[in-house]
């Protein structure tokens, strides 16, 4: 309780100071909105895209931005995705060395917002035409009713399958439930001689199982931990069944790479994967004909509705930025419909804006395929601690999949660990 109070106090103090400050002004009536051409300054942008394959497109966009706003200079820095969270938090906290704008995994928004690192963007020049964002992507930007990021790239998990192998096994269409998924996997094994799937044991990939049963990690509104609810246990039981009956043997230390390697060379028939992986798939022997890659929504659990988490990247403006106006303009530019369409064309990622799915963009089969899947995406639970929750959940999920713990025991243990990590007024739902 005390901790929650302190957090609340910190937050309100922050909100006060944030509105009071702003060396170059903030809010709707500022220069950025009234007279964008007059905004000047040098801002730093941390990009987390792949330096070899994706970064060139972002650099090209920045050139365009600087041409449009000659008084603003952008210092582009590519920071490894793996280290950006720790690096940004250290810098944001000390006030030195932090970027003005940072490309942020959507799962971190509530954490950054709650800690006061992310600037509230409602009513600023950064946010324009918000009705245009895909609902799943937009949902990731919200924390306690305010907006702390602007979607740049979105994604979700879907069912990717090898059409040729499906044909060989005599499967007409992709499975829509986990039961059908397991049955099809057995059929693939029997008739096509390949493993049905390669289950990724990462806890992020457990979310479709949970969502498909209507379960989630926690319910912030009711302040309840729900990870060991009967629905969640059912989800974990299904996942275990998939691992045992439908999946190739999982190498836990190399699962992601092995899953990709087996799928793209036609050694497994289907995987649960995101759009970021399709470029790699197309480089494999099984998908030299791009049309061979099928994309469908993730299978559903007993609710009959398949759902997967929304991923992707939002642009976050650092609350301590000395050039807020320039940062807003930059964020607005980088998340405009034209910019997102440009990025989609170059990198094959899914735009956060619906208007950016232009006919040219949709020519890419993976974008077209995943666009159809996007309506099944939903945001992860918006808790600042969500990043810490994945550690115990992942460990128990691994134990469940390896058969060291029953789904019930494993998730009970996760719930007990969540209790330690969440504010003390959270209770374990029974």
């Amino acid at each position: 309780m005390r901790r929650a109070l302190i957090a609340a106090a910190t937050l309100s103090a922050l909100a006060l100071t944030a509105t009071a400050c702003g060396s170059s002004g903030s809010g709707a009536g500022s220069t950025a909105a009234k007279n964008p051409g007059q905004v000047s300054g040098t801002i730093t942008y941390w990009d987390t895209s792949d330096a070899k394959n994706e970064a060139p497109a972002y650099k090209a966009l920045i050139k365009q931005f600087e041409a449009k706003y000659p008084k603003i200079k952008v210092q582009y820095q590519n920071v490894a995705f793996a280290s950006v969270e720790a690096k940004f938090k250290s810098a944001a906290q000390s006030g030195k060395g932090a970027p003005d704008v940072v490309r942020t995994d959507v799962g971190l928004i509530s954490e950054y917002a709650s800690l006061g690192y992310a600037q509230k963007l409602d009513g600023t020049a950064a946010l324009s035409d918000k009705g245009d964002f895909a609902p799943g992507a937009w949902g990731t930007t919200q924390y306690k009713g305010a907006t702390y990021g602007i979607p740049q790239v979105t994604d979700t998990l879907g069912l990717l399958y090898n059409k040729a192998l499906f044909k060989k096994a005599g499967i007409a269409k992709p499975p829509t439930t986990w039961d059908a998924f397991i049955a099809d996997a057995k059929q693939l094994k029997a008739r096509a001689g390949v493993d049905g799937t390669y289950l990724n044991p990462d806890p992020y990939f457990m979310l479709p199982f949970l969502f498909g049963e209507g379960a989630d990690l926690a319910d912030p509104a009711k302040k309840q931990i729900t990870v060991n609810s009967p629905a969640a246990v059912k989800a974990a039981t299904t996942a275990k069944k998939v691992a045992d009956e439908a999946s190739a043997k999982i190498d836990f230390a190399n699962s992601y790479n092995n899953m990709q390697a087996m799928f793209k060379t036609g050694k497994v028939g289907m995987v649960i994967q995101g759009p970021w992986s399709t470029a790699d798939d197309y480089s494999g022997s099984a998908f030299t004909d791009k049309a061979n890659l099928g994309i469908a929504p993730v299978p559903a659990g007993s609710t009959g509705k398949g759902q997967a988490p929304t991923g992707g990247h939002d642009l976050v403006v650092y609350a301590g930025s000395k050039h807020l106006d320039a940062s807003y303009l930059f964020t607005k530019f980088m998340t405009s419909s034209a910019s997102e369409a440009f990025i989609a064309e170059k990198n094959g990622t899914l735009p956060g804006r619906t208007s950016a799915y232009t006919p040219t963009v949709l020519k890419q089969p993976s974008i077209a395929g995943f666009q159809a899947v996007l309506p099944t995406a939903r945001a992860r639970v918006a808790l600042p601690q969500v990043g810490s929750l994945f550690t115990p959940l992942g460990q128990d999920y691994t134990k469940i999949l390896q058969g060291q713990e029953s789904p019930q025991a494993g998730l009970d243990h996760s719930a007990a660990e969540f209790k330690k990590l969440l504010p003390s007024d959270f209770t374990i739902a029974k």
Binding site: K52, V79, A80, A82, S90, S94
Partner: protein
Amino acid sequence: MTARKRSRNSRGPGASAALHLTLAVASLCAVFPVLWLLYLSFGPSGAWASPGQVLSHGTLGNYADVLFRSDFPKWFLNTVIIAGGTTAVGVFLAATTGYAVSRMRFPGRRPLMWSFLITQMFPMIVLIVPLYRLMTDLGLLDSFPGMILVYSTISVPFCAWMLKGYFDTIPVSLDEAGQMDGLTPFGTFYRIVLPLARPGLAVTAFFNFMTAWAEVAYASQFLSADHFTLAVGIGTFAEAQRPDWALMTAAAVIITIPAAVVYLLVQRHMVSGLVAGGTKS
């Protein structure tokens, strides 16, 4: 002398073969992982999963990507500056300290040696955020001197300990002779003891160099893109979910080469330099 030689050489052919076999197997275990990385680095991106592709589709493309399609020259230069600086500063600090502790009985000597040991015991990684703030306050953040000092704190305690052992093996009578000739203790240290301690210094240099050369945790926290080191820079060659093994292997080889060169330069001194301290009984 001759008798000894014969007796120690009087190994049967069987024993000789066993000796060579053991050493050969051990050597293979030692070098195989390195050679395997080297081999994979010449393959296409899927080579880690099907190593046969290296032979059928061998390529220098990974090296081209790393060397010419990245900020490699900048990273390399940064790394050389930081590792070189750490070597210079680290050797200097370790040598002066090691000498003082070896030759002089001064108040604070034992606490100093113990605090060296203690610095090795605490996992500083958990304090990286306070350290970040400290670096900010000292104006050392995102700077070469800052990184050099941080790396020195990692390497110097061990090196000072090691060099102290080495200095112990150099007869004190030499120092005394020097002082008779009118040299100050600094002069004695610089003109007489240091030249004799070259093997120990070489190992110290190597150790300092290796500490700084491929460190990731501190470097990725404290440096901005302009000052990235190699080890941090190649981290950007990864998608959100996974490393690109083809580029990683090539980059690994490139990072390893300078370290291996330094190692070759000092390896002759390595054996005599490392533990001379333990030999004085």
